[in-house]
C-alpha cells in the first residue's frame, strides 16, 4: 500500500488506518462523528494527499484540456479553480476533477486517487502535442483545513491572510524554492482551504496548523468524517454516485458542463441525455427509522423497488440516517414517503431536497 508524507503523523496520533484506493489512509482519530461535528462547529484537518495532481503546461495546454473536460478551461482566470468532469464518448462519468489555473500556459488537474493513473493515461492520449504532462503523484501533499474557524487558524499558522480569496480562488507562493498553493475549496460543505505543498514540508505544515488550532477546537479528521460531511453536503463521490454508467444529467452535475464552449469528449451524448427526460436522478433520502442505508440497497416509493442507494451514513448534524440514491425522476421529488430495503426489511424514509445540510452563512451565495 502507498503511504502519504503524513503517514508517521497519523501513526503518532493513533489513527485507525485502512486501505483506500491503494493508499493506507486514516479513517478516524477520535471517532468519525466527533470529528464530523468538530468540522461543523470549529475546524478539522484532513490529509488528502492520496489525490493525484497532474500538471499540464504549454501554449496549447488549455485547448487540450478543454477537449476532454466538461467545464470551460479557456476562460478560467489565473488564480482560480473550476470543477469539471471527464466523460467517455457515451457521456458516462470517468472522473470528477478540479482544474487549477496557475498561469496562462500552466494548469493543475486534481484527480481522485482511484482514477489518477487512468486519468493521466487519458490526458496523455487526448492531449496529443497540446501540452506537456507531469504527474506529481506522491510528491505534492494536500491538506484540507475545513470549518468555520479554518481561515483564522490558517492565518495564525502561516502568517498569510486567505480571507480575500473567493470560493474556488487560490493563492500560490514559493518557499525554499518550492511551490505552495492554498485554495478556498473543500468537500465538506464548510468554508475552508486546501493546501498543496511539497511532500517534505507536509509534516511541518500539519503540525503548525494543529498547533494554531489547538485552542480553537481544531481536530485531525479521517476519511470517515470526510465521507459523512460530503454526504451531508450532497457532494458526489466517484464509485458511488458517479461512474461510467451515470451521466451528468442524472447526477445533477450539469452545472459543471459547458455544452456551448466547443467540442469535448461526451458532449453529443450529454446533449442527447439532456434533451430526453432522464430515467433516474440523484435524490436525497432521510430515514424515519433507525437504520443506515448502505450502497446498493434497493429503494422504492411504492410496491416495487425502483431505485438504489449510492451512499448512506448517519448524519450527526441532522441526528438521523441519510442517503443519496438514484430514483425515477417523478419519485425523487422532495417530501415523498419512500423505503429502503436493509437486511431483509423495508425501512421507512422520506425523499428530501439536496443538499441535506447547507451552512447558514453560505445561503444565497
Amino acid at each position: 500500500m502507498k503511504r502519504t508524507a503524513l503517514y508517521a503523523s497519523h501513526r503518532r496520533l493513533n489513527a485507525a488506518l485502512a486501505e483506500f484506493a491503494g493508499w493506507e489512509m486514516p479513517v478516524s482519530y477520535s471517532g468519525i462523528l466527533a470529528e464530523a461535528q468538530a468540522v461543523r462547529r470549529a475546524a478539522g484537518l484532513f490529509d488528502v494527499s492520496h489525490m493525484g495532481v497532474i500538471e499540464i503546461s504549454g501554449a496549447g495546454a488549455r485547448r487540450a484540456v478543454d477537449g476532454w473536460v466538461t467545464c470551460d478551461v479557456a476562460s478560467l482566470p489565473e488564480g482560480r479553480a473550476r470543477y469539471g468532469l471527464l466523460l467517455n464518448p457515451a457521456g458516462g462519468i470517468l472522473d470528477d476533477l478540479l482544474i487549477y489555473s496557475l498561469a496562462p500556459d500552466r494548469l493543475w488537474i486534481i484527480a481522485n486517487a482511484v482514477n489518477a493513473e487512468s486519468d493521466l493515461a487519458r490526458a496523455q492520449a487526448h492531449s496529443g502535442a497540446g501540452g506537456r504532462l507531469v504527474p506529481h503523484f506522491g510528491h505534492i501533499a494536500i491538506l484540507a483545513l475545513q470549518g468555520p474557524r479554518a481561515l483564522a487558524i490558517a492565518a495564525d499558522a502561516t502568517g498569510r491572510d486567505f480571507s480575500t480569496l473567493r470560493r474556488y480562488g487560490f493563492a500560490s507562493w514559493r518557499a525554499d524554492d518550492e511551490e505552495w498553493l492554498a485554495s478556498r475549496t473543500g468537500y465538506t460543505g464548510e468554508d475552508g482551504l486546501e493546501f498543496f505543498c511539497p511532500a517534505a514540508a507536509a509534516e511541518g505544515l500539519w503540525d503548525r496548523l494543529l498547533a494554531a488550532g489547538a485552542d480553537r477546537g481544531l481536530v485531525p479528521c479521517g476519511l470517515g468524517a470526510r465521507d459523512v460531511l460530503r454526504i451531508e453536503a450532497g457532494n458526489v463521490l466517484y464509485g458511488h454516485e458517479i461512474n461510467e454508467e451515470t451521466t451528468p444529467v442524472e447526477a445533477n452535475l450539469m452545472w459543471a458542463v459547458r455544452l456551448e464552449k466547443g467540442d469535448f469528449i461526451g458532449r453529443d451524448a450529454v446533449r442527447r441525455a439532456q434533451a430526453a427526460e432522464p430515467a433516474r436522478r440523484l435524490a436525497g433520502l432521510a430515514m424515519e427509522e433507525r437504520a443506515i442505508p448502505r450502497q446498493g440497497a434497493p429503494v422504492g416509493t411504492d410496491g416495487e423497488a425502483t431505485g438504489v442507494v449510492t451512499s448512506g451514513t448517519f448524519s450527526p448534524t441532522l441526528d438521523r440516517a441519510i442517503a443519496l440514491a438514484y430514483l425515477p425522476l417523478a419519485e425523487g421529488a422532495p417530501g415523498r414517503p419512500a423505503w429502503v430495503a436493509l437486511r431483509g426489511k423495508r425501512r421507512r424514509a422520506r425523499t428530501t431536497s439536496l443538499p441535506f445540510f447547507r451552512h447558514p452563512r453560505q445561503e444565497g451565495s
Binding site: A16, I32, A34, G224, R290, A291, I292, F314
Partner: protein, 128 residues
Amino acid sequence: MNVPPDLRYSKSHEWVRLENELATIGITDYAQDQLGDVVYIELPETGRLIHQEEVFGSIESVKAVSDLLSPVNGEIVEVNEDLADTPETVNEDPYAVGWMIIVRMDDPAEAQELLSAEEYRAFLEEEE
C-alpha cells in the same frame, strides 16, 4: 483491549456476566472498537426465548451493521431500554452501562463452556 477477568466470552465478541442462573450480556471492548461510533441498537422484547448463537438484536455503527448473538440458552428477562437513546454508551462503557440483555439460563452449567478471559484474549490475538 480491556478484557475483564471475571467475565465469560463468545467467539462472536459478546461478554457474559454470570450470577446464579442469570447471564448479563453485552459486546466486548474489542467489538465496540472494531465497530466505531455506535448509532443504533435494536434489542428484543423481554420474555422471548433465545438459543445459543441465535440473533437477539443488531448493532449499527457509521461503518457497519452486525447481528448480536446470544451466548446462552434461556429466556430474556431484562433489556437495557436506555441504549435506544444512548447507543454511544456501548462505546464508552461496554462492560457496565452498555449491557444489553439479561437471560435466565435454562442450564447455568452450559455457560462454563464459554471462553474464559484468558481464552478470549488468545482468540483475539489469533484474529489480529
